[in-house]
Amino acid sequence: MATVPRTWIGKDVQRLEDPRLLTGRANYTDDVRLPGMAHAAVLRSPQAHARIVRIDTSRARALPGVFAVITGDDAKELSNPLPAFCAEPVVQYALAVDKVRYAGEAVAAVAAVDRYTAEDTVELIDVEYAPLPVLTDPIEAMKPGAPKVHDNLPSNLVFEKTLSFGDVAGGFASADRVIRRRLRWHRASAQPLETAGAVCRYNPASGRMDVWSNTNMINYVGWLVANTLKVATSKLNINPMDVGGSFGSKHVLGKVIAIAGMLARRSGRAVKFMEDRVDNLTACENLACDRFYDVELAVGADGTFTGLRIKVVDDYGAYFQFGHGTHGNALAQATGPYRIPGFEYTVQCVLTNKCQQGVFRGAGSDANNFAIERLVDAAAQELGLDRVEIRRRNFIAPDAFPFKMPAGNIYDSGDYPKVLDQALTMAGWNELRKMQAEARAQGRFVGIGLATAQQRSVYGPTEFWFWYDAAGLTSVPESVGLSLGPTGEFIVTMFSPFWGNSPETVVAQSVAEEFGVDPATVTVTYEDSLHGLPSAGPGGSRMTVMLTGAVVGASRKLKEKMARIAAHLLEAAPEDIVFGASGASVRGAPDKAVGYPDIGLKAYWFKLDLPAGMESGLEARHTYDHPYLTMPSADRKDLGAFYPMMGHGAHIPVVEVNPETGQVRILRYVAVHDVGTIVNPKSLRGQIAGGITQGIGMALYEQCLYDADGQPLTASFMDYLLPTAQEVPRIEIGHVETPSPFTEYGVKGGGEGGRMIAPAALASAVEDALAPLGVTIDELPMTPERLATLIEAARAGGRASLAR
């Protein structure tokens, strides 16, 4: 499908967001200053599992400059449990009530004259704990009779389910071979450079709570926050801020908002709580999935995939906040880009004494991509087939779209062979293989990785509840307001915050496309939760699709009114009015024109010049709902379309492994992405490079570790390792565009693909590098010691080199 040539969509428009960011004049949460504002600090539990016997805050309260001290007892009075996207009664308060369940859990909080004093105050709170047995191994925690993380739950196995689609048994019975792998995907953490925070101000006379926070879903589930804060929804206002990165970690932020809110109530002052880095590493909502996979791929002798079984144990930590949404993510594309007729997915969600999972870019489909691609590489190796060919053989054909995958989700469009071919060409696959052979002859361990994988976008909320029998919410809209002011300026109002993606630029380019104006002339503003329209905000790579849809919808409405005004002024028919860079004109008679300023002026100030019966003003609002969401069937054999804007990518990294030190050097990295029509190529490349860099982190550097007592061992940036510019190569990025048939302009989301595919690709590359030793890669991250140990074991085992 060829891409339609457009004027502004597809251009490298300079970002509207940049000037304030570049000059240090953005408005991040920690930049908020209110009169009399107090600062909060939090006392955190040193114990991973313990009863709280006694808390004595008397010394803390006596310190000068302290305005309020609260504990779990106050949390029970002043707040409700935090929102959780699950049906199980896993109760979490912002401050631990009766019991602490992870090391780092908040036990008390203070508001003081400044952050220094607040931290002094926290040290004066005395807590007596009665330790309980600590559970850090989900396999142990699952066993009957294990100590319970939550006394009100029957066990730590908080959820388990098997979903089966298509004829799985038949697919396995007819296979010539079953490829099996056991895989480990360690827990990582989103770690944006800006931590989570909130400023809250409470007015007891009016009952109004004002919040400034880098939280996301302010116009979607603001009512959940109101419920947590025990204020009426109509009395809660959340102000959107500039956000210094999120990657999924700032969706709700119930904890920081509740702590600031409760302290605001108690102290009578505005209170700011900014997490510090230790708070963010140990106690936030930014931890990713922590999985043990047992996976099987049924294959024919010719390499055809006939069935797939995925069994996964996921260590959720102490609470079940985001539920199994990360497994819904996996289901959306569980079979990858391949024609697998049936698959089974068994998930066991386990609670342990660690901080709870949130979501991190990729949100569970990253781990699933890793699992499938290991199986595919293994199938090629065991069957003696070429890794490229086995993928080609099983790809869903370009003429098969929209494609319904076995679980019922739709893949809207795609051309997987084209993406693969482009990647192979860019990488110079055959030259790489030659170079590898020469390197191997010198005794060097050079590897070429390949991953062909999906990158879903635009989630449907059904993925949070189709695991259950009862139905849940089905709305996940995004809205914009669009106005033409009395001086002819276009203003777009958004109802979700800026996260570091480029929403202002996307909407400006859409307005530009619809009207013909230069995007630099468009102004974008944000609206708070009391004045906002339903908008779920960034997440699941949805914003490009949802914002363009909302802008197009609002533009249609606005154009309809503007056309009537222009037609009235130009004495023409509204259907003959066209819009361009400077205003409206009559089709075929460009000299019969009226500029945008005049249209705006008339609309706002010259009522008697308007068509009869027309209201003054020129503003349209549009709520764009998910363009393709369908209900799951009652028997859950068909989950409906819930993540249908399906992008795809092929990654080819080239690595060299030092066999003595286990260090991996990335020599080259080629990535070709297809995310439908591209709105802003430079922006997209930035998202891809950033995502791949986080994927490199996942593959080689990042893991959250705990000791046997549940103590976090990666509680600072000295231990949780984010890649720097020297760990990341220049990434060669290519594009294919197969537009979506379901969205405006044919766009799809592309913000997560880099992190969703790179770990799988790098695992493939390192395994390829170590193929002469017969090493298989089953665990991420591939730290130097893990690799050195595998290499040493392989050498000691005297395994013969494998022909590749």
Binding site: R115, Y116, E119, D120, E123, D276, R277, V278, E660, T661, Q663, Y701, L705, L713, T714, S716, M718, D719, L721, P723, T724, Q726, E727, T783, P784, E785, A788, T789
Partner: protein, 291 residues
């Protein structure tokens, strides 16, 4: 993460500084570059009652050539040491080690004296000074003493400094002719603390035999590890593959490394063997030898 309260003094002269240390004893801690101490203060892992900030004691910042070696004032910034002509000419290993300390903004503030006095087992300069057999001058009110670097480091994050003493100078003797040196390390990321690092200095005679060898490691134990047995293996020999392998074995045997989340003790030993061999080879080549 904000520091706890402390009393603060910022003397301008060495005499004033040591007088303060004498007055406050173990209630006081010296603040030099702050690149190690301020994080500890921010984490509230360090809680000195008195902070004696020596950054304004300008007379302690200098790099002076001696007859063959160099004298470096304790307050000299790592970046200054790295770029000093006389260091590059006479002690390139010191410049090489400084280059690996963190990143430039850290080296702009971090001092040579601060790094040595902090004695982090993974840091580069203590190992280099042990390998160079540097002499450290320690000053207290009314007197001063000098001790060899190896005696200065007494344990993990522990030195021979008494609470009322200030490290004021590092004297590094010159190197004999035909000495090649190398400092290399393995770290998880660029600029990180070394998992293991090694300073190697090898002197050759005209026949290509080793007449002198000095080997010291960081990250290999609670203090810098001087690998004397490995040095003995090298002396008198032409450093061929067999000799290098044996020296590398001795290096690994000399280590007593820690285990942490980045590397186990066993892995560090393995890295020490691997790096040791590389460092010696490199030093030999730079001495004008090698096959």
């Amino acid at each position: 993460m904000k520091p706890p309260r402390f009393e603060y003094a910022a003397p301008h002269k060495t005499d004033e500084a040591v007088a303060l240390l004498s007055q406050h004893g173990d209630r006081a801690k010296v603040l030099a570059g702050g690149q190690s101490l301020v994080p500890l203060l921010n984490f509230r892992l360090a809680r000195p009652e008195v902070l004696v900030d020596v950054n304004r004691v300008a007379e302690l910042a200098y790099v002076r050539p001696l007859e063959s070696g160099v004298a470096i004032g304790a307050l000299t910034r790592q970046h200054t040491v790295e770029r000093a002509d006389v260091i590059r000419a006479r002690l390139p290993i010191v410049a090489a080690a400084c280059r690996l300390i963190g990143h430039l903004p850290i080296r702009h503030r971090g001092t040579i004296g601060g790094s040595l006095a902090h004695a982090d087992p993974a840091s580069e300069l203590p190992a280099v000074m042990v390998a160079l057999e540097a002499e450290l001058t320690v000053t207290r009110r009314g007197s001063r003493r000098t001790l060899p670097a190896e005696q200065f480091f007494t344990g993990m994050l522990t030195t021979a400094l008494a609470p009322d003493e200030l490290l004021t100078e590092v004297r590094v003797p010159g190197l004999p002719p035909r000495t090649g040196s190398a400092f290399i390390e393995i770290a998880r990321r660029a600029g990180d603390f070394a998992l293991v690092g090694i300073a190697a200095l090898v002197t050759l005679d005209d026949g290509g035999r080793v007449t002198r060898a000095r080997l010291a490691l960081c990250g290999a134990g609670p203090m810098p590890v001087r690998a004397r047995e490995a040095e003995r293996v090298l002396v008198g020999e032409r450093p061929d593959g067999r000799v290098l392998d044996e020296a590398a074995e001795k290096i690994a045997a000399a280590t007593d490394p820690p285990s942490d989340i980045h590397a186990s003790a066993a892995f560090r030993k393995k890295l020490a063997r691997h790096l040791g061999r590389q460092a010696i080879e490199l030093a030999v080549r730079r001495a004008g030898g090698g096959s």
